[in-house]
């Protein structure tokens, strides 16, 4: 009895399971044959049990499952094939709709893909080193800002930490490489021993640097260098005998000990490094007597690079290094009081500055894509209601609703794939265009391109958008009473469909509002930024750089002073030249220099000393750049190496350190160098050096004649055309010393413009995106209003026939259209307000919640929307009542 009951239960379960498995088939097939198949299965099950008992049942199930899976897949494929064919036919039958939808999607997907390419390359792609995710950057930190590391501090970190498997410092720099036709300036880097192995790289030829080679003069092999693959090919024709050969860098001899592989790049920067030397390069005595590797107070290196030991997290590393920093502060209070450590993942450190900029743009382009999808969803909705009859007929002929939804989804996927393909082409063009627009200081910009990952992303986005905008109208059908369209003959206004369309318009307008506000804010911020008075006049000034090799021109020697005096004299003789000067760094070039300052009569310790920017300038610096001297005097010929030391400070320096008192005649001493006190002889007006958007900092100017430095920028103010002027300058330099390269020949105007290249890029793109969004939103509003007018032609006709004035009809249409738009604007404004913090860090001189910008964005949208409503409204007033009424 028991076993009989059990087998009875098994039978029931077996039948139920079979019916349940039928879900694998397409719904239409299931509806047609499901019952029969279940019936047949019961027959088979009965036979199997009767013939072979439970073994027979098991065998039947095996057979059935195999057949079920293969034939169900076959049925789905078959159906997809038919859906595709049908979908293609219907889309081709309505080319206007198809072309419009595909173009809208192409713009959205194309822009999104192109920007994803940028984000992927710049922000997401791992650094090109082994296990790069464990690489971190370690910097000194004081008062919450990180600023580099001094070599002695780095050495102590390296010895005392317990969390890194390796640690090294580096600085990107330039070398003057002698030999060949004329000396060449090469991009290089100074690295400490162990850096390459830290990165998981090794020279392709020769050997790595050795620890003893970081010392002054290098190891037994002397000063050593490693070549990049390209410099090796270029300079040594790829000869293997290059090892042991001598190179002259900045006038000193270096021995080539290795060649890196062709793919090796470090530091990761747009200008590829051609040559590496050790810290020995920095160990030459400086102008001030000390050397960089022994100056604990001088954070010469931009960062230390370290590799986390396996299983050590960032948190543990931070804690460990803070301990080290604290003990260093105790040991060297003069230099390390208040000096902490900041540890950043290497990729974040590289991309930190551009990350918010790119993410804002990516979010904006995401909005454009969403608007494009909404627009196409709306087009599909409008179209599917005119297809009501067709669909009703198919439903009446036995198609299930699931089948219709599937068919509609297939069509939207086809549209999306079409849009994706066109968008891919567009993205290709856009990437190419972006390449020329991108600011030069965006890391890894040269690698930006469309690769497999980006195209795969485009495909995924296309499919997702297809599903996204396709689901809306498809579900609309799935949910409603399928027979309804047949009953009311496709002419009535479908309430639900109308509401959905309005909701889409609200969403579209809200997104467009957000983009307009963002673009408006960025434009105003950019205008304010570019209107900032830099405090100097850049127009008509040519700048170029010269670096005197230390062998022929020892640091701080009179040879340096004399060379520059002769150079400036010769340049001054050129026609059109008003004045010429030299300076260590040009304002707004991104290069800066600073030190601590000590005031006579105000005792202080190193730890409590104030810092100020330090500028080495030649004669006529202030005149050449048009910087007024507010008090006292400019430097004169007499302020030379034999004269008492003198300094000019800027107004901010006077204000901050002397308050109301007169700084003239007071004496200060610079932090590094340790020379005597200098007298303040003048106060110059403030200029913007670090950035147009940053406030002026306290600055000290010292004369080149008293601090001769080898590498300077020459600045020439001239009435002549700058482009034509450059060759003349070059030949003067060559005439003075044929071994000297000049480089970075640029108009000061261009340097100024470059300093705001990132905000310009961001503003330009956001304006572009907002424009596209506005256009798409306008098209959406127009489409929906026009559609509703055409559907309500009858109602309009009756109103007109009953005596309504055309103006009243027009008002009706416009009011209905605009109420949706106004709701969208309100929602968009609310969202923008709540997300305004995203933009705050990127705005200059304007609040992210600036009411005028919000109002202006709303006004623009209202204006465009009014136009988009007016055109169809005007058509509504031209309805011929009799024609419409007779139409029934």
């Amino acid at each position: 009895m028991k076993s009989e009951a059990r087998s009875c239960q098994t039978v029931q379960w077996s039948d139920r399971l079979y019916s349940w498995l039928l879900i694998l088939y397409p719904s239409e097939f299931r509806a047609e044959y499901g019952a029969e198949m279940a019936q047949l299965f019961r027959d088979e099950r009965r036979d199997a049990l009767a013939e072979c008992g439970s073994w027979g049942l098991a065998a039947l199930w095996l057979r059935t499952l195999a057949a079920l899976v293969t034939t169900a897949a076959g049925e789905h494929l078959d159906m997809a094939r038919r859906d595709l064919r049908y979908g293609l036919r219907t889309l081709l039958a309505d080319p206007g709709f198809t072309v419009l939808s595909v173009s809208i999607l192409a713009v959205g997907i194309g822009a999104f893909t192109a920007l994803f390419g940028v984000v992927n390359t710049v922000l997401l792609r791992p650094l090109p080193f082994a296990a790069a995710e464990r690489l971190v950057v370690v910097q000194q930190e004081k008062e919450r800002s990180a600023y580099g590391v001094s070599y002695p501090n780095f050495r102590d970190w390296r010895e005392r930490n317990r969390v890194f498997s390796g640690m090294a410092v580096y600085n990107a720099t330039h070398f003057t490489l002698a030999g060949g036709d004329r000396p060449r300036r090469v991009t290089g880097a100074v690295v400490s021993a162990g850096l390459f192995s830290l990165l998981g790289a090794a020279p392709e030829l020769g050997r790595d640097f050795r620890p003893e080679e970081d010392r002054f003069g290098g190891g037994p092999a002397g000063r050593v260098a490693i070549l990049s693959h390209s410099l090796w090919l270029q300079r040594f024709n790829g000869e293997r005998r290059v090892l042991g050969r001598a190179l002259t860098l900045n006038g000193l001899s270096y021995t080539v000990v290795g060649v890196m592989g062709a793919r090796f790049r470090f530091p990761v920067q747009n200008d590829p490094v051609e040559l590496w030397t050790t810290v020995a390069f920095d160990a030459e005595p400086t102008l001030y007597g000390g050397t960089i590797p022994t100056s604990r107070g001088y954070p010469h290196y931009s960062a230390a690079l370290a590799r986390l030991k396996p299983e050590v997290g960032l948190g543990a590393a931070r804690a460990d290094l803070q301990l080290v920093a604290r003990s260093l502060a105790g040991e060297y209070p003069a230099f390390n009081t208040g000096v902490g450590v900041r540890i950043t993942p290497a990729i974040e450190w590289l991309t930190g500055e551009v990350r918010p900029l790119l993410l804002v743009l990516f979010a904006a382009v995401g909005c454009v894509l969403l608007i494009a999808c909404t627009n196409v969803a709306n087009l599909l909705l409008a179209r599917s209601s005119t297809r009501g009859r067709e669909i009703a007929v198919r439903l009446a002929l036995g198609a299930t609703q699931a089948r219709i939804v599937r068919q509609l989804l297939t069509e939207s996927l086809l549209l999306a794939l079409g849009g994706g393909a066109a968008g891919g082409v567009l993205a290709f063009v856009a990437t190419w265009a972006l390449g020329s627009l991108l600011p030069g200081d965006i890391p890894r910009a040269a690698e930006i391109g469309l690769d497999g990952a980006v195209l795969g992303f485009a495909l995924a986005v296309s499919l997702a958008t297809g599903l996204g905008f396709g689901l809306v109208p498809a579900l609309q059908f799935g949910r409603g009473d399928g027979m309804q369209p047949l009953k009311d003959a496709a002419r009535s206004v479908s309430g639900a469909g109308g509401r959905l369309r309005s909701a889409l318009i609200v969403a579209e307008v809200a997104l467009a509002m957000g983009l307009l506000v963002g673009a408006g804010l960025l434009v105003q911020s950019f205008v304010r930024l570019s209107n900032v008075d830099p405090g100097f006049s850049a127009r008509g000034v040519l700048s170029f750089q010269v670096d005197l090799p230390e062998i022929a021109y020892p640091q701080g020697s009179s040879q340096v002073t004399q060379f520059y005096r002769r150079l400036l004299e010769r340049i001054g003789e050129l026609p059109g030249v008003r004045s010429a000067t030299v300076a260590q760094f040009v304002p707004l070039s991104g290069l800066d220099n600073g030190t601590s300052v000590e005031f006579e009569g105000r005792p202080s310790t190193l730890a409590t000393r104030q810092a100020a920017a330090l500028r080495f300038v030649g004669l006529n610096f202030f005149r050449t750049l048009g910087i007024p001297i507010r008090r006292g005097r400019d430097f004169v010929e007499a302020d030379d190496a034999n004269a008492p030391e003198r300094v000019i400070v800027n107004a901010e320096f006077a204000r901050r350190f002397f308050g109301g008192t007169d700084p003239l005649g007071r004496r200060i001493r610079l932090g590094f160098g340790g020379r005597g006190f200098k007298e303040i002889v003048g106060v110059a007006a403030d200029i913007r050096h670090a950035g147009l958007g940053l406030p002026a900092e306290p600055e000290m100017y010292v004369p080149q004649a008293q601090y001769p430095i080898n590498a300077v920028t020459v600045l020439v103010r001239t009435d002549a055309d700058l482009g034509a002027f450059a060759p003349a300058v070059r030949s003067i330099v060559q005439a003075l010393d044929s071994r000297l390269p000049i480089y970075s020949v640029r108009a000061l105007d261009a340097i100024l413009a470059d300093s705001i290249a990132q905000p310009r890029f961001q503003t330009l793109l956001l304006v572009l995106f907002a424009g596209v969004a506005l256009l798409l939103a306008a098209a959406g509003i127009y489409g929906v209003t026009a559609y509703s007018v055409s559907r309500r032609a009858r109602e309009m006709g009756i109103r007109l026939a009953l005596g309504a004035s055309p103006a009243a009809v027009m008002r009706l249409v416009i009011v209905q259209g605009m109420s949706v738009v106004l709701l969208g604007i309100a929602i968009g404004a609310a969202i923008s307000l709540s997300l305004s913090w995203i933009l705050t860090s990127q705005l200059f001189g304007i609040s992210a919640t600036d009411p005028i910008t919000f109002a202006a964005a709303a006004l623009v949208l209202v204006g465009v929307a009014l136009l988009a409503c007016y055109l169809p409204a005007r058509r509504a007033t031209r309805v011929e009542p009799m024609v419409v009424l007779r139409g029934d």
């Binding site: 047949l40 293969t70 034939t71 169900a72």
Partner: protein, 128 residues
Amino acid sequence: MAPTPEPQRFLPLTAPMFHILLVLSAGERHGYAIMRTVEERTAGQIRLGSGTLYPAIKRMLADGWIEEAGTRLDPALGEEQRRYYRLTDLGRQVAGAEAQRLYALVEAARAYHLLPEAGQHPAGWEGV
């Protein structure tokens, strides 16, 4: 009226398809009967389960080889209503054309002495 398609267009048929047509050429049948008959005729070599039979039926219906012949009881199988299928003219032509094709193949095999002369049945041959 769409022109009747050429039966040759559909050839060759799969063995299950051909067997289903053969069974239906004898008259109206429901799914279970088709399955059993095919299995018996092929000595269990072709076993059509529910999962193979109905996709085949769907295709033959779509191509117009068979048609539905109403629903009724099969007294031998209890109280359940069953749907019957019958061969159309096109279906009969398709089955005939396939038989012709197979016959031509058999003739060719005979010409190469791969098969005994007509009338002499090889061992195990039970006829169709």
